[in-house]
């Protein structure tokens, strides 16, 4: 199924195509018809993350990064009525079990990580906080550059570098590294990155 006009969903689809792990996800196109699926997804979960996507209007979509499961269904209905496609994600706590989160950029010969240790990726996007920058060579995954504090072990980051090594150059991926492993949320093209070495 193609989701060319729903960029966030298309992005998740691309992540899956590249074999990258994403959090457990349910796409809700019709709240009424998918009620049982929603109930099954929410079962046993205290919280979920809710994002939304809309054709030609994906910039300002409603979202609740940490929504109690009991309230999730009504919020889904509400935004679904407004014409949004709902993305339900498994919720990962901002502190408990979280090692780091951030961006990974695939360059021609390197893989560049920009990371924050705890909290949401929005600390990086919206506040410009960067606690660690680490660059691996693509050829042998050796550490080429490092600055800042060590948020995650180089071995854990190297595992992520191995996952993204073969995807095309000049992509920025958002991810969270939990104790259970990495989870990717978004992939974006960034052709301007060809100007970085």
């Amino acid at each position: 199924m193609k989701f060319d006009n729903l960029p966030k969903i298309e992005s998740l689809q691309r992540l899956v195509r590249y074999g990258l792990p994403i959090p457990a996800t349910l796409l809700v196109f019709d709240c009424g018809k998918q009620e049982k699926e929603i109930d099954a997804f929410l079962r046993g979960k205290k919280h979920v993350s809710i994002r939304a996507d809309k054709m030609n209007d994906s910039q300002f979509c409603p979202s609740i990064p940490r929504c109690p499961s009991a309230k999730a269904k009504s919020f889904c209905r509400k935004i679904s009525k407004q014409g949004f496609t709902v993305i339900l994600h498994e919720y990962f706590p901002l502190r408990k079990g979280r090692i780091a989160c951030g961006h990974v950029l695939t360059l021609k010969e390197h893989i560049l990580f920009e990371l924050v240790d705890r909290g949401a990726v929005s600390r990086l996007d919206r506040e410009g906080e960067v606690e660690e920058i680490i660059k691996f060579r693509k050829s042998d995954l050796a550490e080429a550059e490092h600055s800042g504090k060590r948020t995650a072990s180089p071995a854990a980051l190297k595992k992520i570098a191995r996952l993204v090594r073969n995807i095309p150059c000049f992509k920025i991926l958002d991810f969270t590294l939990m104790e259970s492993g990495p989870y990717f949320y978004q992939i974006q093209d960034d052709e301007t990155a060809s100007r970085l070495s």
């Binding site: 990086l124 996007d125 410009g128 960067v130 920058i133 920025i172 301007t192 100007r195 970085l196």
Partner: protein
């Protein structure tokens, strides 16, 4: 050749070189007052400030205290070929408004001229 002193070091977010006068930006209003060939110096630039930056083609370079090469501003700067050094700590304190600087975003440094 004028003697150059490195005053700041940071991350190469958008390669290139530029020379100009420092314009410390603390709000979108400050950005709109930028003059030709100003080097914008800020703590961090948010996407709303970027809208002004898109229209303001006179900006010759950017220096921010926070951010990196994957943030929104870095992508925009590369798109518009504006040299940008990110993560230059205390930039808004070390640089003074109207002082003449040279931004070398090929090496991630700012010189005082």
């Amino acid at each position: 050749m004028a003697k150059r002193k490195v005053v700041l070091k940071g991350i190469i977010a958008s390669p290139g070189r530029a020379q100009g006068r420092v314009r410390i930006v603390r709000s979108p209003k400050d950005l709109l007052q930028a003059r030709q060939e100003d080097i914008i110096v800020a703590s961090f630039l948010l996407p709303d400030i970027c809208l002004a930056f898109r229209k303001n083609s006179r900006i010759s370079g950017i220096v921010t205290e926070k951010g990196g090469s994957t943030c929104h501003v870095a992508i925009l700067a590369r798109e518009f070929n504006v040299p940008y050094v990110a993560g230059a700590r205390a930039a808004t304190k070390k640089l003074k408004n109207n002082s003449l600087v040279c931004l070398d975003a090929e090496r991630g440094v700012v010189y005082e001229i």
